[in-house]
């Protein structure tokens, strides 16, 4: 651009400068485009679940998986071996597969004469697979498993007999037609044909060798009779190979040729240029993005990664690795010409010989070499989120510039070892000419005929049919098999896998609706939980313990989007879903009479913090470190041994010391703002006015459908999860609060709802809350199953009396809940009492060694939006989000629209993150936690240098069943379709089937299931009746796997 302004008046300026902005624009566009495919994970501190394949969400679910497979090289389903095992174990049943195949609507006409119909063939291929994806696998089958001479193990008796029978008939005909011993050789050649590479043998002798006896040319039928199986299978294989001979040399349907430098060099030299680049790049990326791990921060971070990197590399003396020889001059040259990162990228693209039309693909390819790091640059550039920016100026283009510079040098270095010296742009052409890079992959006769051979065996088609088939027929069959490729087969298997769960779920729902449990109409107490799947069991247990208690579910921020600062927090932090920008600031303040305690606490905390900081620094420093380690090292033995050998006692002790040394003052929240308060000017207002409070309280009460029935106590429980040694702690906490504790929201809600001013305004809206109804806020810790109630000391006496009734019930609920959770922990004592199990879960939360403080959302699979009678008395195995909603008070669907808009994306986000982290633990998940290394306080690497690991670690997903969220809503299909029509976010999730929508009619109780192909279809229960037990404990006792639903009827 500067060149353009330098010659503003000259008409005959060369066209070059005019073309340059174009390159830049296209580069920016390419970066923008490519960055969609990078993981969008935020720094761990603000980890929030989201759809891992969000970039593909505009596509239907299965199409998106296919697209992601080609683009990101990730897996979107379980492996086919897993599905086969699930089929064998009965987790997927035959009727599931049949039902899914019926919906696939394969045409019923035969693929070719003599072949089975398409639907039958598809069922066979999907059920059994065609095996042998690679040449090596094929060779293994043929050589080691002798697959050309005997039926595969999974071929049933029917097809075996059919093939043998038909081969016998065919052979009789052939022998008759051959007319004597001379023609017998011809016939034998149709049964065994020498394989290429094999020395040409007489087919009769070869047949003899296979059969283990001499073959008389006059008595082929006799030879057949001595081993019909071998004869028939071998003839079939020979026929298939011959039928495919003419296709040899044609391009393979799926093949990805190496296009760019790295792949070409890797394939030709066996040496990966990335090994050189990454070893250098990763530590520097970590140092640049560091949010406070290192004491010495990278200089020049405020000038961007490219400048900082080039400054560090060109300052002082130092040895450069051999492959980076010449980098110094490059950097000086760029510096002298004052080139920015973008200029450098443009220059390097030209130097690497990237053509204009390849630009987008190349940028994508380059960024996807280290998706985690590139993604973190992108994320911190575009949305630094609530944690704020560091001094570092983060730009993806800077990363690109550094990466490409290093790539260039690495390519040249590896190329030089291959004897390719000279210009980098010549590398690709030179590599492509090397013998290791062959042209596009071609079909061979054996790999083409193998699927055909398998299909014939499965379907009972013999050599006779193949020999009789025309070329076009064979090609039609092969085209059919190509169409039924692996993603398609896996898709059907996966749909069958999900159907089994759906059938169980909806059958249970139907059974529950048929015999509804008694639900209290005038509850004594009401307890509001988060919609979280983990509270399905808590609510069930509470209802079993206290039938007069009603439980409700609402998103864990309780409709209060706040920026909150507790007395221990350094700043405010948003407690609301990440997409919402909070407008109200709430602070926790010590009561006036408790100021001194607060002061004491703050100053002691500061002292402890300083000691800890100094201690950490000293232990890593040189001379002070020696004194510190030699003297104080012995003291480390105390916490070390205590927390390893008795985590619970050590944790309790630590807590007790903290309580004694850091006394907690009594506090209040700054919830109220006077109407005339001028703070409105600010972006974030402090507190709420009474009107605003009333609006929010009313809207939550309406959402949950409790506008007429109020108990004496309404306990609102936010939730959090305590754990140690766990970089993923926000993933266990409340997702609706941005991965933080929902306690403050619950406390605030209760305080607001207790305000008399709010009560008056509620009454004016028609919500009459009785005067003796009191709201209480609380915090539920899902890791150790403990509840803490807020502001209980402010309660009126009557409410305290009520609380004395409810508290023990809540405690019992926690114990039973811990008991139910422990059945899934292998380390928990077997068949222990609830008390013992609660001690166990408490210990887990304190245990340094515990990679699974709790199992999080690992069991999520469904979400119910509706009144509690839908699900009350139903054992759902902690697999369902439960959202309270009363369709009777929402004739227009406005409330439901509000709910779905929040629950749809949040539920699907959690569910899909677990889904993809489970099916591809290495590429979409974070792999095992054990070698994880917290880096720069924003992510984890494996060991000292690897790509940033995104997604969930295996310890969180290992028991997860990857099933899309089944969203069951108590509403008519018409209402739901209308909402989808109004809300594109919901529509995208539903019509693209990222979640499976089911409707329960509020009046008729009819269940309908949505399918993108067919719309809503009525659901008829498959099985009638469910097991009935009196208590949840009776159903799960002694069992540690997933359990089907059961009816709980006391």
């Amino acid at each position: 651009m500067s060149t353009a302004t330098a010659h503003p008046l000259s008409f005959d300026a060369p066209p070059q400068p005019a073309a340059r902005p174009d390159v830049r624009e296209r580069l920016q566009a390419a970066l923008e485009h490519a960055s969609h495919y990078l993981p969008a994970q935020a720094p761990l501190e603000v980890f929030v679940h989201h759809n891992t394949l969000h970039a593909f969400q505009h596509l239907p679910f299965h199409a998106a998986i296919r697209e992601a497979q080609t683009k990101l090289r990730v897996r979107g389903y379980l492996t086919k071996e897993t599905y086969r095992e699930l089929l064998a174990s009965g987790r997927i049943r035959e009727d599931d597969l049949d039902a899914v195949l019926a919906d696939e609507r394969f045409p019923g006409e035969p693929i070719a004469p003599g072949f089975p119909s398409r639907d039958v063939a598809a069922a066979l291929v999907i059920r059994h697979g065609v095996g042998a994806e690679t040449i090596a696998h094929l060779r293994w089958n043929l050589v080691e498993k002798d697959a050309a001479n005997r039926f595969d193990g999974d071929i049933r008796q029917g097809p075996r007999d059919a093939i043998v029978r038909s081969t016998r008939a065919w052979l009789e005909q052939e022998v008759a037609a051959a007319g004597g011993p001379a023609g017998a050789r011809e016939v034998a050649a149709k049964v065994v044909s020498p394989t290429p590479g094999e020395r040409a043998l007489d087919p009769l002798r070869k047949l003899g060798a296979l059969l283990g006896r001499r073959v008389d040319p006059r008595d082929l039928m006799g030879a057949f009779a001595c081993n019909p199986e071998l004869f028939s299978v071998r003839a079939l294989w020979t026929a298939c190979v011959r039928a495919c001979e003419h296709l040899e040399g044609q391009p393979c349907p799926q093949d990805t040729p190496a296009v760019f430098h790295r792949d070409l060099l890797l394939r030709t030299s066996g040496e990966d240029p990335n090994d050189l680049v990454h070893a250098h790049l990763i530590p520097l990326c970590a140092a640049f993005l560091d949010r406070g791990q290192s004491y010495w921060t990278m200089p020049d971070r405020e000038r961007g990664f490219f400048r900082a990197w080039s400054k560090v590399l060109s300052s002082g003396l130092g040895v450069r690795p051999a492959w980076l020889a010449g980098l110094g001059e490059r950097l000086r040259d760029w510096d002298a010409r004052k080139l920015g990162a973008e200029d450098v990228v443009v220059e390097l693209l030209a130097e690497l010989g990237i053509a204009d039309d390849e630009l987008a693909a190349f940028v994508e390819h380059t960024l996807l070499q280290l998706p985690g790091w590139a993604g973190m640059f992108h994320r911190l550039e575009s949305a630094p989120g609530p944690i704020g920016r560091t001094r570092a100026q983060v730009h993806l283009i800077d990363y690109m510039a550094v990466r490409l510079t290093l790539d260039l040098f690495a390519y040249c270095d590896v190329g030089a070892r291959l004897g390719l010296r000279g210009q980098a742009r010549a590398i690709r052409a030179a590599c492509a000419g090397l013998p290791q890079i062959s042209g596009p992959k071609q079909r061979g006769r054996h790999d083409t005929s193998w699927p055909l051979f398998r299909l014939c065996q499965l379907a009972g088609v013999s050599a006779a049919t193949i020999y009789a088939a025309s070329r076009a027929d064979v090609e039609a069959v092969l085209a059919f098999l190509d169409e039924l490729d692996e993603p398609t087969r896996l898709r059907v298997l996966h749909e069958a896998y999900e159907r089994r769960y759906r059938v169980e779920l909806l059958d249970a729902l139907a059974a529950n609706l048929a015999a509804p449990p008694p639900v209290t109409t005038r509850p004594r107490h009401q307890v509001v939980f988060c919609i979280d799947d983990r509270f399905e069991s808590s609510r069930r247990h509470l209802e079993e313990i206290a039938p007069e208690c009603e439980t409700l579910g609402a998103a864990g921020f309780f409709g209060l989007a706040i920026a909150y600062q507790g007395i221990d927090d350094p700043s405010t932090f948003p407690l609301c879903p990440v997409v919402v920008e909070p407008q109200h600031r709430i602070e926790e303040q010590a009561l006036t009479r408790q100021f001194s305690i607060a002061e004491l606490r703050a100053s002691r905390r500061r002292q402890l913090g300083e000691i800890e900081t100094a201690w950490g620094r000293m232990s890593r420093s040189l001379l002070l470190g020696s004194i510190v380690t030699a003297v104080a090292g012995f003291f480390a033995a105390i916490p070390l041994l205590a927390s390893v050998f008795s985590p619970r006692a050590a944790g309790r002790m630590r807590k007790a010391i903290a309580r004694w040394w850091l006394p907690e003052p009594m506090t209040r929240l700054t919830e109220l703002r006077a109407e005339q308060d001028g703070t409105r000017t600010a972006q974030v207002m402090s507190g709420f006015t009474l009107d605003e409070m009333a609006t929010r309280v009313a809207s939550l009460l309406e959402n949950m459908g409790i506008v007429h029935r109020f108990g004496k106590l309404i306990v609102v429980l936010g939730h959090d999860s305590s754990s140690v040694n766990n970089p993923y702690f926000p993933a266990y906490s409340c997702g609706a609060c941005g991965g933080r504790s929902g306690g403050p929201n619950a406390r605030l809600f209760a305080r607001m709802a207790n305000q008399s001013g709010v009560r008056e305004r509620l009454a004016a809206r028609g919500i009459e809350v009785p005067a003796d109804t009191v709201f209480v806020g609380g915090l539920y810790d899902t890791a150790n199953d403990m509840i803490r109630l807020y502001d209980a000391e402010d309660l009126p006496d009557a409410a305290l009396l009520e609380l004395r009734v409810l508290s023990p019930q809540l405690e019992e609920m926690c114990r039973r809940n811990a008991h139910e959770r422990c059945r899934r922990f292998a380390a928990a004592p077997r068949r222990a009492s609830p008390e013992r199990d609660q001690r166990h879960v408490e210990g887990r939360a304190f245990d340094l060694a515990q990679a699974r403080p709790e199992l999080g959302h690992a069991t999520n699979a469904a979400c119910f939006v509706g009144r509690r009678p839908l699900t009350a008395g139903l054992f759902l195995d902690r697999r369902a989000f439960l959202v309270s909603y009363d369709p009777e008070q929402d004739p227009k669907g406005a409330i439901l629209e509000r709910i779905l808009l929040a629950v749809g994306p949040v539920g699907a986000g959690i569910n899909l993150e677990y889904f993809f982290s489970t099916v591809d633990a290495e590429r979409l998940g974070a792999g095992t936690k054990l070698p994880h290394n917290v880096t720069g306080l924003f992510g984890v690497m494996n060991g000292a240098s690897s790509d940033l690991r995104t997604g969930l670690p295996r310890q969180m997903t290992e028991i997860h069943e990857p099933v899309r969220l089944h969203l069951v809503v108590e509403a008519t299909p018409a209402t739901l379709l209308a909402i989808a029509g109004r809300q594109p976010i919901v529509a995208e999730l539903v019509t693209n089937e990222w979640l499976r929508l089911c409707a329960v009619d509020p009046d008729t109780r009819a269940i309908q299931v949505f399918d993108a192909r067919f719309g809503f279809r009525p659901y008829t229960p498959v099985s009638a009746g469910l097991p009935r037990v009196a208590r949840s404990g009776d159903w799960y006792a002694g069992r540690d796997g997933f359990l089907p639903p059961a009816l709980i009827r006391p």
Binding site: Q293, P570, A632
Partner: protein, 446 residues
């Protein structure tokens, strides 16, 4: 009061029980009977038994007559003027370190039961850890250099296998190879030392060697330098410390016990054991002090600049181990021993807590009321920009030691071997074995 014979057998449990436990697990594995609970029980019993035996033995020793105690178990084989004796030596040093080893092993096995739960390599981890424990105890309690060498090798091999624990990924395997190469290179030092001791002093007994060293100073120098070389590799000292951060590829628990606390201190312990010999060699002492001091400075700087939790602790460890080398160089043996034990304990704890880095940092920030994400040290920021750039480059590139090694040693050696390989295949080609060429050049790049 225990008689020396009983004492010997009780103390011998320290290496023997873990070895036996390892054997049991190996048998269970071979018989496909190894489940998590069984393996964990075996490991805990074995290590607990070892610790118990050791503690009883040590109490017995402490109550007995003062002074080092030599416990003989006969000889493995002897002949031609050579005798491979199996002797244990108990003195204050070996008692302290051996107790530390047993204690940390017990803690590790306890920790790993929960930590490695459901990991595919669960059984393998416990097998390797028990073997490591047996090796480490042998190393510590060995009364002569040969026995120490046996322990040393077991420790080395188990370390390598645990670095490569996740062998289905490439990174850990490469890192393990790197560790293996460094270890093997430095084993040359130990081997040379052992052979020369026999050659010149006709003994490898720690106590006897001390007497012999008084008579002839030259062997002491040669043996001393060899021992220092051996220790440098195991303890990640300049210029052979490049493997240490790479070794963090294994599970956190094994990183803690190996590179945080035990294995990395084995070199220091070797030097402490050989101290009587080293005292007679100025060259060896100078080398220890130089190498230790350089490592201490470089690693401390790297630790300050490390942006990830595990490397930061790893470098800090190497730095303190360097200081221990200096201490031994100056003859401060007691201080070095105290430093070793305390340091091992502290680093072990710090390593186990590395996954807490984020939670800890947030808690610290909250306590200090800091909001800014950048908490760059004030003193660091106060330095001039140019100085900072220079120091930073040195710190993050670790004074380019590895780069220089790679560039001036590894690459030329590799290039030479490639050339030799080519030459060989050309020669072979004359004999009609032309297809070796392609394979040969591929293999040496690994």
């Amino acid at each position: 009061m225990l008689d020396p014979n009983t004492l010997a057998h009780v103390i011998a449990l320290a290496p023997a029980a873990p070895a036996l436990g390892g054997l049991v697990i190996a048998v269970l594995l071979a018989a496909r009977l190894a489940g998590e609970r069984v393996v964990a029980a075996v490991a805990q019993t074995a290590i607990g038994l070892g610790l118990l035996g050791l503690l009883v033995g040590l109490v017995g020793w402490a109550l007995g007559p003062a002074g080092p105690l030599e416990l003989g178990f006969g000889s493995w084989y002897s002949g031609a003027g050579y005798d491979f004796r199996i002797d244990l030596l108990i003195d204050g040093r070996s008692a302290a370190v051996s107790a530390l080893v047993s204690l940390l092993l017990l803690a590790t096995s306890r920790f790993s039961i929960a930590y490695l739960h459901r990991e595919p390599g669960f059984n393998r981890f416990f097998l390797l850890m028990l073997l490591f424990g047996a090796g480490m105890q042998t190393l510590v309690l060995a009364g002569n250099l040969e026995l120490l060498f046996v322990g040393w090798e077991i420790v080395g091999m188990t370390s390598v296998l645990l670095v490569g624990f996740f062998h289905d990924r490439q990174g850990p395997v490469k890192a393990a190879t790197r560790v293996l190469v460094t270890y093997r290179l430095c084993d040359i030092g130990l081997l040379t030392a052992g052979v020369s001791l026999h050659r010149w002093l006709h003994t490898s007994d720690w106590m006897a060697a001390e007497q012999a060293a008084l008579t002839s100073p030259w062997p002491a120098t040669f043996v001393g330098l060899s021992l220092v070389f051996a220790a440098m590799g195991k303890s990640a000292q300049f210029p052979l410390g490049g493997w240490l951060p790479r070794a963090m590829e294994g599970p956190t628990a094994s990183s803690a016990v190996f590179y945080g606390s035990l294995s990395v201190h084995a070199g220091v312990y070797l030097l402490l054991r050989a101290a009587p010999l080293l005292e007679h060699s100025l060259a060896a002492q100078t080398m220890m002090i130089t190498v230790g001091a350089i490592t201490a400075v470089i690693s401390a700087m790297s630790s300050q600049a490390s942006p990830d939790a595990k490397s930061a602790v790893a470098y800090a460890t190497a730095s303190q181990v360097g200081l221990m080398f200096v201490e031994i160089g100056f003859g401060l043996y007691t201080i070095a021993t105290v430093h070793l034990v305390a340091h091992a304990m502290l680093r072990y704890y710090q390593f186990l807590r590395t996954p807490s880095a984020l939670q800890d940092a947030l808690a610290r920030r909250a306590a200090l009321g800091r909001t800014e994400a950048d908490e760059g040290a004030v003193r660091w920021e106060a330095l001039g920009l140019r100085t900072r750039r220079y120091v930073y480059r040195m710190a993050i590139e670790r004074f380019d030691v590895e780069i220089a090694l790679d560039r001036y040693v590894v690459r030329p050696v590799m290039a030479l071997s490639r050339r030799l390989d080519r030459l060989e295949s050309q020669l072979l080609a004359l004999h009609g074995e032309s297809d070796r060429r392609g394979r040969g050049s591929k293999e040496d790049r690994r």
